[in-house]
Point group: C2
Chain length 194, copies 2
């Protein structure tokens, strides 16, 4: 099957991109990892850019499907944050290579080629989802009011996504367990209450 082979190649490409960085990765390295020659990749893909493009869009599409489901569920602010965090860690589990690539290269890709404009869109959409929920939580009195909300947003956002840099699927903790502990730290802190 044609689509199947593309998927395999994209998976190995994503792995190499995540490990070495997009720019540091050569087409020949991807071909090596896939057991073929560099030129042969161009039977399946139009360019190196097209590969990252497809990797990132596939990831973002699935991510937003999950996020939209959460946001449409009509939960309270705290429960929404909890659900978003859990969904994020599940996504890191499923697409850990794509997430790592997104983390490292998104900004650079976005303002280099208009082709990747959707990455900037995704960032704005992220901000709306997370910041909106946080603001709602502050208004509802479930989150603290003495914090700079934008600082809090970046704190929560980064806290979640950096995990992709060290998380490897099939590790000691399941995504849900990691999400539970992360949420516990973010919501209640690491200091012991007296």
């Amino acid at each position: 099957m044609r689509e199947e082979r593309r998927g395999e190649l994209l998976a190995t490409a994503a792995e190499v991109f995540a490990a070495q960085g997009y720019n540091a990765t050569t087409v020949r390295q991807i071909a090596d990892a896939a057991g073929m020659l560099a030129g042969s990749l161009y039977y399946h893909f139009a360019s190196k850019e097209a590969m990252v493009d497809e990797i990132l869009t596939a990831f973002l599409d699935e991510l937003w499907a999950g996020y939209d489901a959460v946001l449409a569920a009509g939960l309270g602010p705290r429960e929404t944050i909890e659900a978003l965090v859990t969904e994020s860690f599940r996504e890191i589990d499923r697409h850990h290579a794509a997430v790592a690539i997104y983390q490292k290269e998104a900004r650079h890709l976005a303002d280099r080629h208009p082709r990747f404009g959707y990455l900037a869109d995704a960032r704005r959409r992220f901000a709306r989802a997370w910041l909106g929920t946080l603001e709602r939580g502050v208004a509802d009195g479930v989150f603290r009011t003495d914090l700079d909300i934008r600082l809090t947003y970046r704190f929560v956002r980064d806290t979640v996504w950096v995990a992709a840099s060290w998380y490897r699927p099939g590790a000691r903790h399941s995504p849900e367990e990691i999400a539970r502990q992360y949420l516990s730290m973010v919501l209640d802190g690491i200091a012991l209450r007296d």
Copy 2:
């Protein structure tokens, strides 16, 4: 003065590296930003690698000077964490380009060339300083005991250093103010206590 010019060139190189990534940056771009031609850089530096090397070592040397001072002060676990975080944000303020480079390229550089072995050393030293303090805090009963300590370590570490990806010197908040709010979130959480 000779050293002075080198310092200027390293500063502009660091800025370009931080903005575009090490591999995506060409020597000609650095030379452009410095107002000279590519070859002329090689009067001052042996190679492109030597530039990042010098940028990173200068940053790490200063960082460890600060860390060691904190660790030698004989503070309690909570005060040590607070001091380390504050010191880290000061370092992000002073060396924000170097920190951004370290964040993005350290792992990749470390396992590519033995020249950058000190980056792996730095990571181990980081772990000892942070993890040790956290363990001491758990033993002393100032930090929670129900969390995976290694997860907590990565949480605190990443939480602090990702800030380099968005922080720009001279922004709304001073390093000390950011450190204060970060510490407040990490230690006490963002949820409102009842």
